[in-house]
């Protein structure tokens, strides 16, 4: 029993586990929660291949169900003609499967009785470990902590008896040895390892996903207890092995969390309302292909509408805008850009919200945080410092914040004590009760009062992000390189306005464990203001501008960069480091703030149509109420209904109401002759957009497995994730309230459509030299449409890499239903 296996087996075993783990997605902790494609590591199989694996492993459908397509057909989001064309397209296609899908071919999850019992034990240990309740926490490994404790656990004894518990306690001290012993006990040869390991991971995809994040994505030395993948599998496999040996059950123990839902089984070829032609076309396909045809038909319908909206007329940008505003590519920015442009003489741009600065950032008195996309590692450390001459004020602010934090900590500690809460209720109840009542009955007013009190305790103090080369370790030359990359990639290299705003975004919500999912994905699930501040600090430095000038980017002395942040829950704007703004810009800034307030009010009114159409003219008050209400389940819709990623100058989309469904990345083909900027855009921002798109997709089509369940019953586990109810698996994906209105889907599950205005030969070159792009476009994870220039016809990229002309079959629907921008609503 305690003998160790050969280390040769260990390395092979680790590789087998790594391969098995391709079937699950990493799950980021709540504090930096980001959307991921749950099958990113299966992307080489193509979308169809990955869905096939998902069906085998999780028992899901992977495609929009018949209930959804029936509603889409009835509402006009897809037509019978779309279905006929999509069915014809699929009739010739083949589905490629390779790699792990070969290993799993013909296999399906086999339910047995052990899964619930085993899962209950394993999740209990995982939660206790992450909460620091096991011996050796937080430094000891999970497997060792469990192994040292399990011999005393009554729950394990209840499940496995004294003998079974003793077997677990007598396992080897190394997780790898324990796994090897279990696989041997189950009589599996190496060919059977992978299926068994997949079974173990898929039984608890939430906890396994956390382990995968820790083992494959977390920065080395990340703080907190390290529940890694090997340890997780060792513990689950150990319980399962002993359970199965005791009952001589040899079959795998996976209970799929979702059996294929009835509506998905309902034949997609006989959806009510279909034309005869469409029924006949679908009849030539098997059920799965018919479901795929529906998905393709809905995607084509959206594509035809979108391309029809993007005009072919060359529109010259205003050469003298009052200000230029650079927003994040986030689909929510489309709304504010559209409204801002309609209220004043402004030019807007879209760029990834970390503004090209992969930064580890330390706010005044705070711990460092990585503000960058998860595809990157931090390359520069920057800090917030007190403004010159404001050191004492900053010290007062710090002292206030510390006092407030200590008060909160003491309150939390008291609540965790067995007796103290009663004393706390006696002593503080008379204060707490009115506070609770105010918070519940008037959340927006309560939030304002709390903000004022907070400012009294910790008065604001002017600070700035320090860009000094000596202190950041980022020399002028490197700062100039960053600035050149940022400006070139966003296509802002000439025609600078006197005032350029870098506008990050964040979302203010209450009592929302998934709050980070509403913040900036390009900032690693954090708010975007500090990235904007840091980028502005660099772009305003004279030595950087001098170097930029040598590289051909001349920023006039009169141009000033200022940082702002869009609160997407309230559509209000905060500006930063105003004490640094030169006097000559104060007037422009005041006008811009007024115009942003008007644009924000218009956007709030537009958004409330989706959130609560009964609100009418009270939209601004309503969004503030939702933002501050600790009982609100839908403070905003986030990125729901995202559908496209558009790369090109703003003149390509200006005036079109894209309904906050498009990620907009600015791009100027003239300043990118070698395609470097285009390559950067397609290999990073587009990948992030694809992750978001696929997270929403799978969370919507198979919410039983890939959505995080009902917010009303969420419990936070060790600050890492949420469970539904008292325990169980960590919930993956997005909460149901971020996707559905009751039973009806709000998000429209479609694969991302990328639209590029750039020479197609250049696009082909970029795709050819990047395997990840060949996988995404060739595997139909992302659709691609492009045109060489404004007057050229749209071309559609095919799976084999060829291009065919776009042949619009549907007339774009009129889009004149957006609210006007003339509402007299006082904002903020």
């Amino acid at each position: 029993m305690t003998e160790t296996v050969s280390p040769t087996s260990h390395t092979r075993l680790l590789v087998e586990l790594d391969e098995a783990a391709r079937v699950i997605g990493p799950l980021w902790p709540l504090g930096t929660f980001i959307a991921v494609n749950p099958f990113w590591d299966l992307r080489q199989l193509g979308f169809d291949g990955a869905v096939s694996v998902a069906r085998m492993v999780f028992g899901v459908h992977g495609l929009p169900g018949s209930d959804y397509v029936t509603e889409a057909l009835a509402s006009g989001r897809v037509t019978s003609a779309d279905v006929v064309r999509a069915a014809a397209e699929l009739a010739d296609g083949t589905t490629g499967m390779a790699g792990i899908s070969d290993d799993l071919a013909g296999w399906s999850a086999t339910p047995s009785d052990s899964a619930d019992d085993v899962n209950r034990q394993v999740t209990k240990w995982c939660a206790a470990f992450l909460a620091g309740k096991l011996p050796g926490a937080p430094d000891a490994a999970f497997y060792l902590s469990w192994h040292a404790t399990v011999r005393f656990d009554p729950g394990t004894r209840a499940l496995l008896g004294r003998h079974g518990r003793a077997l677990l306690a007598d396992l080897p001290n190394r997780a790898e040895d324990a796994i090897a012993w279990c696989l041997d006990e189950l009589g599996l040869d190496r060919d059977g390892w992978r299926r068994e390991l997949v079974t173990q991971l898929a039984a608890l995809p939430g906890w396994a996903g956390h382990g995968k994040w820790r083992s494959r994505w977390a920065p080395p030395g990340a703080p907190g207890p390290a529940l890694d993948l090997v340890d997780f599998v060792a513990v689950r496999l150990a319980y399962d092995t002993v359970w199965r040996k005791q009952r001589s059950a040899q079959s795998a123990s996976l209970v799929p969390r979702a059996s294929i839902r009835p509506q998905a089984i309902h034949d997609p070829r006989s959806v009510p309302g279909l034309s005869h032609a469409a029924r006949a076309a679908l009849a030539t396909l098997d059920r799965d292909r018919a479901s795929s045809a529906w998905l393709l038909a809905m995607e084509h319908h959206y594509r035809d509408e979108l391309l029809g909206l993007l005009g072919s007329t060359v529109v010259e940008a205003d050469t003298n805008p009052d200000a230029q505003v650079v927003c994040c590519i986030d689909a929510r920015s489309e709304g504010i850009r559209r409204h801002l442009e309609s209220v004043g003489n402004y030019e807007t741009f879209g760029f990834a919200g970390f503004f090209a600065l992969p930064m580890r950032y330390t706010a005044l008195g705070a711990e460092p945080v990585d503000l960058l996309p998860v595809l990157l590692s931090p390359a520069v450390d920057m800090e917030e410092r007190a403004a010159v001459g404001q050191e004492d004020a900053a010290q007062r602010r710090l002292a206030g914040e510390q006092a407030r934090a200590q008060g909160g900590h003491a309150f939390s500690q008291t609540r965790g004590n067995a007796v103290a809460p009663f004393m706390l209720a006696e002593a503080g109840g008379f204060v707490a009760a009115p506070i609770l009542a105010a918070r519940t009955l008037g959340p927006a007013r309560f939030a304002r009062v709390r903000g004022r009190l907070s400012a009294l305790v910790a008065p604001t103090a002017p600070t700035q992000v320090d860009a000094d080369p000596d202190r950041t370790g980022m020399p002028d030359e490197e700062q100039a390189l960053f600035a050149e990359t940022a400006l070139t990639t966003m296509g802002l290299t000439r025609g600078f306005a006197p005032f350029v705003v870098l506008c990050g975004h964040g979302s203010t919500t209450e009592n929302n464990p998934h709050a980070a999912s509403l913040d900036c994905g390009a900032c690693g699930g954090n708010r975007g203001a500090d990235s904007a501040r840091a980028a502005c600090a660099i772009l305003n430095r004279p030595p950087v501008r001098a170097l930029l000038s040598e590289r051909g980017i001349v920023i006039p002395d009169a141009t000033y960069f200022v940082a702002a942040e869009h609160d997407t829950a309230t559509d209000t704007f905060s500006f930063f480091d105003l004490h640094l703004v030169p006097e000559q810009h104060v007037g422009t800034l005041a006008r811009l703030r007024d115009d942003l307030a008007r644009a924000g009010a218009a956007l709030a009114a537009e958004r409330m149509i989706d959130l609560d159409p009964t609100v009418g003219g009270e939209a601004v008050a309503a969004v503030h109420h939702r933002s501050a209400d600790w009982a609100e389940l839908q403070p905003e819709w986030g990125l729901a209904r995202n559908a496209s990623f558009i790369v090109g100058p703003r003149t390509m989309t200006v005036g079109a109401d894209l309904q906050r469904r498009a990620f907009l990345h600015s791009y100027d083909t003239d300043v990118d002759p070698d395609g470097t900027a285009l390559e950067t855009i397609l290999t990073a921002p587009m990948v992030v957009a694809h992750w978001i798109n696929m997270q929403y997709y799978f969370s919507t089509v198979d919410p039983e497995v890939f959505a995080a369940g009902d917010k009303t019953v969420h419990n936070i586990v060790a600050g890492i994730g949420v469970t539904e109810g008292a325990g169980g698996d960590l919930q993956v994906g997005l909460p149901l309230q971020s996707l559905f209105v009751g039973e009806r889907g709000f998000h429209e599950p479609m694969r991302l459509l990328t639209v590029v205005e750039a020479p197609i030969a250049r696009i082909d070159e970029v795709i050819a030299r990047n395997p990840v792009l060949r996988e995404l476009f060739g595997g139909q994870w992302v659709h691609l449409a492009a045109r060489d220039e404004r007057s050229a016809p749209w071309m559609l990229h095919r799976v084999d890499g060829s291009w065919v002309p776009w042949d619009p079959q549907t007339t774009p629907a009129p889009r004149n239903d957006s609210p006007t921008n003339e509402q007299e609503v006082t904002h903020g």
Partner: protein, 108 residues
């Protein structure tokens, strides 16, 4: 090698893999007791899959990475077993060579 240098024979293993495989490779290094390694992200070069330019600006994981470790020879077989298994399903290059180090205690 001139004995006057008092160098110790070791084995150097270099692996070029996709950036997102770096963590799995590092895990194998740790499994055989390596106490350190070198990693370079976004490397460029020509392979049978064409030229890799190593110029992804905002993506460290979908370019190629070079990882290098030096080990006493008796641990090499275990590591090679795992690396070869890894490279059966993923693109990459594995190079093994004799090398010498001046401070062998760093590599035990």
């Amino acid at each position: 090698m001139d004995d006057a240098w008092q160098l110790t024979a070791m084995t150097k293993i270099e692996v070029v893999v996709g950036g997102e495989e770096s963590a799995a490779v590092a895990e194998l290094f740790a499994e055989v007791g390596a106490t350190g390694f070198t990693a370079v992200s976004n490397v460029s070069g020509l392979g049978h899959d064409g030229y890799h330019q190593g110029r992804l600006l905002f993506n460290d994981r979908n370019g190629l990475a070079l990882l290098m470790v030096v080990l006493p020879s008796d641990r090499v077989a275990d590591l090679l077993d795992g690396l070869r298994a890894l490279l059966t399903s993923r693109p990459g290059v594995l190079m093994v060579s004799d090398t010498y180090v001046s401070r062998p205690e760093y590599f035990q």
